[in-house]
Structures are given as structure tokens and as C-alpha cells.
Symmetry: C2
Subunit: 146 residues, 2 copies
């Protein structure tokens, strides 16, 4: 599946659930996942209920990881897509005092650090074991998937 | 169900689906619905899958109303709740050139007009017929439900 260039500029590609692709925002201030479903529909609520449910199981597994493994008390969910037309779903770990608390991340998150290779390897292992994500063998921190 | 005072300050109460309450943001620049589920869970992704599906059916009916009856090309969905802890789900009709396009509404929508009684009556009738919402008999534009 082709990923919109703006998403690839902002994010690392983590892996896949079937034909859906999981991205991670490069700003490591917060754990900010972006799931890109394989679909031509514009909006999440346009999808059929079975497909919505499938995607929500994946998003919920990310939320459980954020809350139970990474210790975030709050998870923000968003499906916006006013700038990038390809459907993409945001799941973001939040906590009081974080880099833009209590504002939503969109348009409010200041520039932050990038992920180290070690931090990414650890997160990748957690995603594989807790969320059953197929991690890309070519996973690298330096750039998006070719 | 008790609705958080901040939500009542920002919104009109439109009606109910069972024990869930539908609000409408008072800023009439955009159609901005807020569904308040009866739950003590903090986040939408914490809910069981059957409950999520039930709520998504309601949110999808709002999305269809926005797209097919009100003519909005885009629907933004959000579950944030960093300020108001009571779970509430945003469904917002968007279109290029609207009052804060392409930014998300949260924190970006300028002050706007309020709804007229006629506009609200018309919307209420659409919600009753297209979304099977139980409209409150005490529905008034001047303030929240007592």
C-alpha cells in the first residue's frame, strides 16, 4: 500500500497488520501511533461496521500497551485527515505535564527529540508481543520504508 | 446521567439514545456533535467491543446526516478528554473554507454565531428521523437541560 508522502515525512513505519500499516510519529516527546488502513474511504465512520471493529481491536491493543506497559494514564484517539486525505487514525499516549498537556497534539506539540535505536527496538518488541504487529524486517530509525 | 458542567456550558443538550446523551456545541459555525456515553471508563478504547460498536453505530448515523443531509464532505472524529474527564466523543462536519479549516476544531474554532430556534428545530427533526435520536421534550435553545 502506498503511504502519503506527508505521513512518511512525519513518521517512521513500524509494521503491518495484514494490509494496514502502523506508523510512529518521529517526535519522541509522546508515543504517537498512526494507523493507516488499506481503504479508499475518506473517513473512519464511512467504513462498514465489521471493518471498523477490526481496526478498533488494533487501536485498542495499542491503547492497552500505552496504559499497561508504558504507564500512560490517558489515550487520545482521533480521525481527522483535513490535511492528508489518506485515512489515518491517531492513538496517542498522554499524561498530565507532558509536552503539550492538556492540549491535543495536533498543531500543538513542540519539536521534540527523536527515537534512539534502542528505544525503537524495545517498542518494536513490545508491539510484536502485546499487539501482534508484524514488524518490518527492514525497520530502521533513519527513514521510512523504501 | 449527570453531564459535566463544562460540557453543559459549551453545549446544548439535544436528546438521548438510551442512557447516552447527545450534545451540540453552541458555536454554530460548524455542526459539532458531542456524544456522552453512560460509562465510568476513561477512554473510548477502554470500552468492550460490543459497547464500542453500539456507540459507533450512533456516531456513524451522525456522520451520514452530516454528509448526506447537511452536505459536509468531511467528518472529524475525536475522543480526547484531557480537560473534561467525563468520556465524550466528538463528531464534527467539516469542509474546505470553514471557520478553522484545515485545523482541528479543538482550540482553533473562533467564536461564532449561536443557533436560531428555527435552525435547531430543523436539526432536531433531522436527528429524530435519520438518527433515531430521542429528542428531549424540554429542548430549548436558551440553555442546558435542568
Amino acid at each position: 500500500m502506498e503511504i502519503h508522502p506527508q505521513l512518511l515525512a512525519d513518521c517512521l513505519v513500524l509494521g503491518n497488520w495484514g494490509n494496514d500499516t502502523l506508523l510512529l510519529h518521529r517526535n519522541a516527546s509522546l508515543p504517537w501511533f498512526i494507523l493507516v488502513p488499506e481503504t479508499t474511504a475518506a473517513d473512519f465512520l464511512d467504513l462498514a461496521s465489521a471493518r471498523r471493529a477490526e481496526l478498533l481491536e488494533r487501536l485498542s491493543s495499542l491503547s492497552r500497551l500505552l496504559k499497561h506497559e508504558l504507564g500512560y494514564c490517558k489515550v487520545n484517539l482521533g480521525a481527522i485527515g483535513n490535511v492528508v486525505p489518506q485515512m489515518h487514525l491517531h492513538v496517542v499516549g498522554r499524561q498530565p505535564g507532558d509536552a503539550c498537556w492538556p492540549k491535543p497534539v495536533w498543531g500543538n506539540l513542540p519539536e521534540g527529540p527523536t527515537y534512539t535505536d534502542a528505544a525503537l527496538d524495545h517498542l518494536k518488541e513490545q508491539l510484536r508481543s502485546h499487539c501482534a504487529l508484524d514488524i518490518l524486517p527492514s525497520f530502521r530509525t533513519g527513514g521510512p520504508r523504501e
